[in-house]
Symmetry: C2
Subunit: 158 residues, 2 copies
């Protein structure tokens, strides 16, 4: 079955490149923002987005390999592996992005921390969190497609 975004297709490759790029941008922007280490949530965002860069980059390489050699990546074992990896990284990314967004809103709206402390780069926190949400959304698309493929395999073998 060839779905939009399934592993080993051009659309799947672009989804993975998008995930990897936005996650890397999120890490770089957050790490270069001054004062990020005051909140555990921001450090967790860097760790989680770093993991997502590694995972998506591995799959970018696998997709390029499959496309160049015209291999079929849709066997049961590989798809199961993708499903587990995708769900774990997607849950971690969403939780990190939401935790950081909670803290950023607290800094910016609920308290006067952003206005008082000049050395906190609050706008960079927000850009980094927006990148993390975009990256999570692309990963969510991929993970639903792989889960769909896995269940379709399981149903076809019954």
């Amino acid at each position: 079955m060839v779905l939009f975004g399934s592993p080993g297709t051009v659309s799947g490759l672009f989804l993975r490149i998008g995930q990897c790029g936005f996650a890397a941008a999120s890490v770089v922007i957050m790490a270069s923002a001054s004062g990020f280490s005051t909140a555990t949530a921001f450090c967790y965002l860097i760790a989680s987005m770093g993991l997502q860069v590694l995972w998506s980059f591995t799959l970018v390489c696998l997709d390029i390999h499959a496309l160049r050699l015209k291999k079929d990546m849709q066997n049961h074992v590989l798809v199961s592996l993708f499903v587990v990896g995708d769900w774990v990284t997607a849950t971690l990314s969403l939780s990190a992005a939401c935790a950081s967004a909670g803290v950023a809103i607290l800094f910016d709206r609920d308290t006067v921390i952003c206005r008082r402390m000049e050395k906190m780069s609050c706008s960079m926190f927000q850009i980094s969190i927006a990148m993390a949400f975009i990256s999570w959304f692309l990963l969510a698309v991929s993970s639903h497609v792989t889960f769909f493929l896995l269940v379709a395999f399981a149903a076809s073998q019954q």
Copy 2:
């Protein structure tokens, strides 16, 4: 197909009762904690858990109805509806729980807000967030089961 936790079964009913109960406990504990309105994330947790109580309670009623009259709830339209509702509420619940956890960790570990401000009931925030995570976990189980059922339907009709 009868899976653990699928709609219209006893295990599914218990999952829904668990979701509803833990979400209601989370709302009650958070709303009775003093100082919760200082953070937008805590207000969002109350709204999101309130939505989950409504959704899970509706499904508890539907499951009891199906079990009493021995009706089969597993038709394509109903399962599609459950999948969409489950995924929306599960994503909202996870994001609310994570945003609140980020703020609670900021209050408790990263800053001295919890120790300085006696009138903030930080331990009640934490209990409420733990309840929200348990409720989200039970909802995640239900939503994966319904998604599995939907894909199995789609695959069997091809």
